[in-house]
Symmetry: C2
Amino acid sequence: MAKTNKTRYALLGVLTLRPCSGYDIKKFCDNHLNYIWSENYSHIYPVLRQMELEGLVTKITEHTEGRPVKNVYSISEKGKAELNDWLLLPIEPYSFRSELLLKIFFSGDIPLTNIIEKLEAKLDSDKQMLEYHEKIEQMLNTELRDRKETYLWRAVLSYGRHNARATITWCEETIQYLKELAEQEKL
Amino acid sequence: MAKTNKTRYALLGVLTLRPCSGYDIKKFCDNHLNYIWSENYSHIYPVLRQMELEGLVTKITEHTEGRPVKNVYSISEKGKAELNDWLLLPIEPYSFRSELLLKIFFSGDIPLTNIIEKLEAKLDSDKQMLEYHEKIEQMLNTELRDRKETYLWRAVLSYGRHNARATITWCEETIQYLKELAEQEKL
DNA sequence: GTATCCATGTAACCAGTTACATGATTGC
DNA sequence: GCAATCATGTAACTGGTTACATGGATAC
């Protein structure tokens, strides 16, 4: 069997929070799950249709004047059951792949300045990630504070923070280290 | 164009270190790149053959008595050039996905004990990862110490260490936090 | 008048996974 | 006698990406 399709569970998960269109789901992933999960339209729409056929979700088509037609999906009892079964299963082994680390590993003949540039880009993006976490944190303390899942979302957020900080520290250390090496080479 | 095939660069990279068979490459990935990159045979072999056709690698078939035939590949000048071009390019944006975090995010109706189990499994695997890092560290200080790329490998290893430690801390904190919650619920 | 947002999809492609197939040698 | 290692591959599948296609409404 091929790797189980996790997209369906991600979509079902979002639908437990509230009924959504494909467009809403995409927005939710981009705005709230960005640092955990990502999806794109061309995967969301077919999976939603497939799940409708399987009876995991139900569709209602909304017509509003002056707006495009909107297909709003809700999770069914069957869908909830399937999601629950999956949530209980242990985590499948995951093969980590990092283009950045792979490149550095084989960069013996690449100018140090080029490697440093890559590290600085990574540093930037992880700093931005931390700011993004701040925003989510604030949301957890305001509009989302009364949802029963808040404590879990806080835990998930905390993972992102720990790892972003670790990466930032590593970037800074490594940039420093490579810069010192570059200095020595010049002498 | 679909996401560029990074497997070829990983294979080319390994071949810059020494000529290898597909089997050797797989072993190298498992033993040395485990925390950066992974490959499996059914991808390695076709990609090697493809790269041979493109003139990026050359093949020599070794016949040794009492052993299976071994196809040893070496990187060509053209292959080195292609690898180099890729190494110089900036890192492509990467969409992070974590099954563990996704599950936790949607585990509002799942028993806390189940979530804690998953965290303990993650904690274990990251502790093992740290031990594995120790081994590589020792290799860097002994048999690999005279290779010119050692300083880069050290940097890569350091990433793994920083992130494993961050994850371990997060797991411990979160387990603690959930256990306290579970206690409160019992009261 | 231009960019962004809302909204839904199809077509084509391909990277990577799982399962299958084979067989000799070495170490416990 | 059994498991692990050495060694190479094919077949089938599918998840996910990119590119393409459309078009009205709203904000600047």
